[in-house]
């Protein structure tokens, strides 16, 4: 396991898989989507390594605000999902949790774990 707070080489995830196109905040999320409201402040993250249960095939929506430029990495069974964040501007992205397993969502700058998605 990568230790908490480590800054290991980030995933080789391409930054624009097909499912990563940011959507505008006004777009209505899928009915049963899991929405994570994420705040990045300095090197603190909120939620802070919180566990979430996700159903296979469920959409995960990330709503992110940050006070610094950062990148959110959501690990998946494939190449992963990346969302760039600019300070003061809310970024929204979504991906489908299509494979079972336990996956981390983390901030690239701080290397901190935001959420652990347990996909069943």
């Amino acid at each position: 396991m990568t230790p908490p707070g480590s800054t290991s080489t980030p995933s080789a995830a391409p930054s624009s898989p097909s499912s990563s196109s940011p959507v505008s905040p006004s777009a209505s999320p899928a009915d049963d989507a899991l929405t994570l409201t994420i705040t990045l402040t300095g090197n603190q993250v909120s939620p802070n390594a919180e566990r979430f249960d996700v159903r296979r095939g469920q959409t995960v929506v990330l709503n992110v605000t940050s006070d610094h430029p950062d990148e959110i990495h959501a690990h998946t069974a494939g190449d992963g999902f990346t969302l760039a964040v600019q300070p003061g501007k809310r970024a929204t992205g979504r991906f489908v949790a299509s494979d079972a397993g336990s996956f981390e969502v983390e901030s690239h700058e701080s290397g901190k774990v935001i959420a652990i998605l347990n996909v069943r």
Partner: protein, 439 residues
């Protein structure tokens, strides 16, 4: 665990809590059954098994040992090429080679092939080659290693590898890994020049780990010359572990337990909210976990020593001899924690193995293959496998401890004297299940 941050990013789901309860109840019930129903006299004393003189002669013959050592050395040389001249990316196979093939792969390898690791250890081959060039006997050193040293250096080495794997920042950066590999080779080879090749057995964390697991294989060498096929349980209980073996098993169990513990959201959240660097927490947590295992084990062994059969037997003999019975628990933990990692990341390493320098080579024809991650699509099967590994490890461990207690303890106190060790082992098993539940 995923040392390969970013490529080993898919992890096992937490073990369902019902499985934890079932596993703990099973372990408890089995413990009582073994204590009350199992044999009352040592059963595996003396050498057992079927002698295989023909196979022994073949395996110890010059061409076979030379070929096996040469092949293993070639595998390491290939990994060294990736380490020295490869690219600093996660598709460099050296990361998977060290963290998955070596550290995790040595468990199934040693269970299947017995002391294969020791027989083909590339450091021994390297040292032997150097000695041949210098025309000296590999056994001879400049100094004699005191017998009290035992395998304590290897116990420290296992803790150090755990630190590299779980605490070291950027442990999948090439520079970092290079530094560690150079340290490992220098300490082992220079030590072997000073103390003779006995140092490699004393200090190589991989060989020490593999040698423990080899005792769970059906292969038993007597006098390094005659191979016997034996009941693994007799193989294990017939083992007289080296001085410091309790440190080796405590470090192994502690590292694996910390790996699980540190992946849990409770620990991550606290470390991330703290103003202290994560390395400080990681170091303290890892050391604490190893010390907890070692202290509880040593205390249980000391409790058994009070009822010793031979009044002259020193206290230190007990944790050393009983360390053998912790080996199945170590192996059960390792299988439960790392099986999916070995399957999935092991494949990824095999694929990148064809292209160590990242130049588009396909030397072994594996470069075009895709990782099959289908094992993760069966979370229930994974959970059952984890539960089985932990409970079977516990069962074999307590049976081995029972057998050893019968030889070490006064007959009238044989049952009572086992209770503290049984409780401690039950604690390891329950903790192992809870740690799998927590992440």
């Amino acid at each position: 665990m995923t040392p390969l941050h970013g490529i080993g990013s898919r992890q096992d789901l937490p073990l369902p809590f019902s499985y934890v309860l079932i596993g703990a109840a099973l372990a408890l019930a089995l413990s009582f059954v073994v204590l009350l129903v199992a044999w009352r006299r040592p059963r595996f004393v003396g050498i057992s098994g079927v002698a295989l003189p023909g196979l022994s002669r073949m395996l110890t013959s010059r061409p076979v040992t030379t070929l096996a050592r040469g092949m293993v050395l070639a595998v390491y040389a290939w990994a060294a090429l990736a380490l020295v001249a490869g690219q600093d990316v996660l598709t460099n196979p050296v990361f998977g080679f060290v963290y998955v093939w070596m550290w995790v792969g040595l468990v199934p390898l040693s269970m299947l092939l017995g002391p294969f690791w020791r027989a083909t250890n590339p450091l021994r081959t390297l040292h032997r080659g150097l000695c041949r060039l210098a025309r000296i006997d590999p056994n001879d050193g400049l100094l004699t290693l005191p017998p009290t040293v035992g395998v304590w250096p290897a116990a420290v080495g296992i803790g150090a590898f755990g630190w590299l794997e779980l605490v070291q920042p950027d442990n999948t950066a090439l520079d970092v890994l290079r530094l560690w590999v150079v340290g490992w080779v220098v300490v082992l080879i220079v030590g072997a020049v000073i103390f003779g090749d006995r140092w490699i057995g004393a200090a190589d964390p991989f060989e020490a780990y593999a040698s423990c697991v080899a005792r769970l294989s059906p292969w038993r060498w007597t006098g390094d010359e005659l191979l016997r096929a034996a009941n693994p349980l007799a193989n294990l209980t017939g083992w007289s572990p080296p001085v410091g073996a309790s440190g080796v098993v405590a470090a192994l169990l502690g590292v694996t337990a910390y790996d699980s513990f540190a992946a849990g959201s409770w620990w991550i959240a606290r470390v991330q909210a703290s103003s202290l660097p994560a390395t400080v927490w990681g170091t303290a947590g890892l050391i604490a976990m190893i010390l907890i295992v070692w202290a509880t084990f040593a205390a249980a062994a000391a409790a058994m020593h009070r009822d010793r059969r031979d009044l002259d037997q020193p206290l230190a003999d007990f944790p050393r001899l009983l360390a053998a019975s912790v080996v199945p628990i170590v192996v059960g933990y390792a299988i439960a924690h790392y099986a999916t990692l070995l399957i999935v990341e092991g494949q990824r390493t095999a694929i990148s193995w064809s292209d160590p320098l990242g130049r588009g080579w396909n030397v072994f024809g594996s470069a075009g293959l895709e990782v099959n991650g289908a094992v993760f699509d069966h979370p229930t099967a994974i959970a059952v496998m984890q539960l089985t590994a932990i409970v079977v490890g516990h069962l074999v461990g307590i049976v081995a401890a029972h057998e050893q207690a019968l030889t070490l303890v006064r007959p009238d106190a044989a049952l009572r004297a086992q209770v503290p060790m049984l409780v401690v082992m039950l604690g390891y098993t329950t903790a192992g299940l809870l740690l799998l539940f927590a992440p």
